[in-house]
């Protein structure tokens, strides 16, 4: 028996060196330690031995068996490592190649800009309000201190609705400004008021790369006690910095709107040349025409007449209002060459945003 054990050990060492794969290792394990394995079979004779022999051989067998198990485990680890290495080597794919196509769309650049604007004002406590696109003269003009034949109507050529379409009313129009939302909102709400109203507006003018008869505005209105012109400057300055970047400068200069007094136009430092007026070739910047500033929004302190029209006490309440052209902001941000492309649904244009 002792002889046989010795032979078996030598044989096992020879067999072990031949193992190349996991499955060969498995076979080896079974052939020695399995239920019908060589060592297992040999051990069946153990009870037939004398007590002394039993003790002596038992030790040898146990040592042999333990050694074999350890060798198998170690070899297993080593082989598995090799196997994983082989898998990752052979399973190489071109990670730069495209995967199966997943098509996704995007929201319209104007939607995106409106979202950004509304988020900034929402965070400052403004409520989002809206009104109709087909509007009454009263809300679009009269209530905003623009009576019929007021010259300010000149600058806003208006589309009128055919009276035959609306029960012979001659005062129905396509709103020319989101300011129309001001009166509608204030009629239904007591001050204080803090609203932002994005929406589509219309002007009856011939279209070209710079003019579209359809475009978007965002109107803002804040009415409260103790609101002043400096607050307007502060609010719009913060807004522009949030929207266009901290480095952008703003300036206020006089303007005229019938529904604000004092009125102002806000300019921002040119987003292309940074306000220098010169492009990278030291030529006149084409975006700001060398001025360094871009006209971006009209604003002012709400005219007391507008507040009186909705029954607010102008002794207590003052407010400011502003309106910004959304298309123009998108055009500046992305250097859009032709405003009409916003309303054509052409994917060659939309996909670029």
């Amino acid at each position: 028996m002792e002889e046989e054990l010795k032979k078996l050990k030598e044989q096992s060492e020879i067999d072990f060196t031949k193992i190349k794969t996991i499955s060969e290792l498995k076979d080896f394990e079974v052939s020695y330690l399995g239920r019908k394995g060589k060592l297992t079979l040999l051990l069946k004779f153990l009870p037939e031995l004398t007590r002394v022999e039993k003790q002596r051989l038992g030790e040898i067998v146990n040592e042999f068996k333990a050694g074999l198990e350890k060798k198998i485990a170690d070899k297993g680890k080593e082989l598995r490592k090799l196997e994983y290495e082989r898998i990752v080597q052979t399973e190489w794919v071109d990670v730069t190649a495209p995967g199966p196509e997943i098509r996704q769309g995007k929201i319209h650049p104007i939607s995106k800009m409106i979202d950004e604007i509304c988020k900034i004002f929402h965070s400052m406590g403004y409520t989002i309000a809206d009104g109709p696109e087909i509007e009454e003269d009263y809300y679009n003009f009269d209530s905003l201190n623009i009576p019929p034949f007021h010259p300010a109507r000149d600058t806003q050529d208006t589309f009128w609705v055919d009276p035959k379409s609306v029960g012979d009313r001659t005062d129905i129009l396509l709103r020319t400004q989101t300011s129309a939302v001001q009166t509608r909102f204030m009629e239904r709400h007591k001050p204080p008021v803090r609203i932002i109203a994005p929406g589509r507006v219309f002007r009856n003018e011939n279209e070209d790369a710079k003019h579209s008869a359809t475009f978007y505005q965002v109107e803002g209105l804040l009415v409260d006690q103790c609101i002043n012109f400096e607050n307007l400057r502060g609010t719009l300055d913060i807004f522009i910095k949030q929207l266009l970047g901290e480095e952008v400068k703003t300036r206020f200069r006089p303007s005229y709107f019938p529904f604000t007094e004092p009125s102002a136009e806000m300019d921002v430092s040119c987003t292309v040349c940074g306000g220098s007026g010169k492009d990278s070739d030291r030529q006149e910047c084409r975006t700001c025409k060398g001025v360094g500033w871009l006209e971006i929004m009209g604003c002012g302190m709400v005219h007391p007449k507008v507040l009186e029209n909705v029954g607010y006490d102008t002794k207590i309440f003052t407010g400011f209002a502003f309106g910004v052209g959304v298309d123009r902001l998108v055009i500046l941000k992305y250097s859009v060459p032709d405003i009409r492309d916003f309303y054509k649904g052409d994917l060659r244009f939309l996909e670029q945003f």
């Binding site: 929402h122 696109e133 029960g167 502060g234 913060i238 006089p254 060659r348």
Partner: protein, 801 residues
Amino acid sequence: MIMKFSFNWLKELVEIKKSPQEIAEMLTMHFTEVDAIEELGKNLENVVVGKVLDILPHPNADKLKIPIVDIGNKRFKIVCGAPNLESGKLVAVALPGARLAGGVEIKKAEIRGVESSGMICTEDELGLGSDHSGIMILPDNLNVGENLAKALGLDDIIFDISILPNRPDAFSHLGLAREIAAITRERVKSTEFRLEEGEEKTEKFISVEIKNPELCPRYIARYLRGVKIGPAPDFIQKRLSACGMRPINNVVDITNYVMLLFGQPLHAFDASKISGKGIKKIIVRKARDGEKIKTLDNEERNLFSDVLVIADSSGPIAIAGVMGGAETEIDERTTDVILESASFSGPAIRRGASKLGLRSEAVMRFEKNLDENLTVIASEYAAYLMTKYASGEILRGAIDVYPRPKKPKAVILEIPRLQKILGIDIKIGEASQILSALEFEVKKISNDILEVGVPSFRDHDVTREEDLIEEVARIYGYEKFSKNLPYGVMRPSEKNPDLELEARTKNIFTGLGFWEVYNKSFLGKELIEKVGLRPDDHIRVANPLSLEHEFMRTSLVPLLLENSVLNLKNRSEIKLFELGRIFEKEVKKENWVKGISEGIRLSAILTKAEGDLIYPEAKEMLDCFLRQIDFIDWWYDPLYLDSKTIFWHKGRTAVLKTGEKKIGVIGEVHPEILTKFDINQRVAVIDLNFKKILDHIKREKKIKPFSRFQQSEFDLAFVVDRLTLVGDLEKALRAGIDPLVKNFKVFDIYEGAPLPEGKKNIAIRFELGALDRNLNDKEIEEVKSKIIDLIEKKFRAKLRA
């Protein structure tokens, strides 16, 4: 409205120590933006006045000539091919070194073997006009050899300024000079002149009657006789040209000159052409319907009753404040002139002019309500210039009809109010100084209250305290204000669920592969009819841009179809959506505007390049969307095959409903419509009423306990009639099923062999489970047989083994 201002002229009216650029910047920051600064003579360096002494033929070319030109200190030959070359005329000569408007640089050159020492220029080469038919012939009175810019009065700088509509007083050089004076704290120089009237009285020759004083508050007429018509003096012609007006003759040019100076449009009539014997009567009245007038531009115009006219005893001789009549026009034989200086109601002029489709320098000013008192100085100064430069004799006195003279106005300015609105600590002294600089009469009536007399030329514009506050603020300088955020009670902004859902919807649809588009709100009759809608159901725009923009959309779908056509030209299939307003005539409902229902639609379109069925994909996407937004139990009601639709493919269209409420339509587009649009693939459209979606969203959700035990599953397949609706089957299952069934889903529908004709196979997977235990086989079998029983009985179905 843009007006051109001559910097040289402004310098005559106010002391200017700064450069044009600095003045422009100050005007921009304190008054209104200067749109452009134009250097008139910019391209005229080395261009001089030359006199053609003689013309020699060119030895080598028939079409070319060789004029000999005198430029004062020198004579030389120039090669020239202009047809209007004439000996003795003054011409513009570009000398070597000149750089012309078009960028051409002049050098000495040899042309066909003859040396040419410069170029004789056309108007357009000089940038002075558009004429290039021949060389520019200059007026005879210019100095030979003088720089052309100087000779023509073009050594000037022009400001283009769009004067704000509330400031008609600044549509004039005097008005702008006033602003410059206030900003730079200088004083405006007054225009000094002495009008010497003759002995004979004006009223012996003319009388004036105003029939509608509300439309014509003041009318001043003067009479000149012995006038000699000729060219206006040089300085007037230069001023007019610099401001973009063409000189005509001395009388007309003087009226325009005075307008550019004071802002008051004037009109001169040839007195001999006005009807009436003895004292000629001028009447200001409304036109009568049917009356006609031939205006100065030689157009015959029909008048309406809301047009104001100046008339004599036989009819209209001018459209008041708009344009004169051709029949009483000044011409070279005119000797007696009636000079009109009047003020008209702005709205009336605007209305009349827009009805007649006429714009003029006069309309531009009158429609903004001019100062009634401006008529006096304008009339006197024009008369003075006419006596001086048209040799006229002015008769004694003016006919001045001014039935309701206006009273001086004063406005109270409380400094605390100013500080409240501006947020800045401007002291009473400073406010008072600023207002005085703007020619307001300021009186301090207490420590913080001013009584401010409004000058006559500003009293239409400045009527209340806020107007004065703006004056103080802008002259003080907007840039000096700090940027402070408002103080106030912090309140959360109100939520706007509509807009929140709009944003979510856009995100879901883009995630599903759709691109958002914005289409216009307009469409034309042709497109409306192309999709089977009726133009009569649409709200019409009275003054559309074009026929394609005549009607307001009642659906987003037609333009989405057009988008598809456009995009299918360069891609194989597309998915687009739009969320936008539609407009319908609606009498009953209470809307924003009575009679109009303004709705929000969510419409999507998708096309498929391969295969001939796209409906199921569209439906799956709609289901995805509705699940995402927690829409309340929806179902699809198939469009009846006998319905009248011509837009929808009625075999593949359903109405989306919740309960019995219609939310929208989903379906494939009718093949005939697709052919009309030249689309040769399948197209599905989802068209939803967004407001109704909003109304049916689960606002609350309760989470139910779920089984933590083993789930069981089994599949059942039934053979049913082809036209059996899966939707009905699902409805029946939902209604009559065992509580142990947790979920079921139709996962396959099959038609074709080996099934018999007219049949289809529907395979459904069921998931079972109980809250408190694992189910045993017996329980599962019981449920299974209940389901089989239900379906077989209700749908004449057969379980498929």
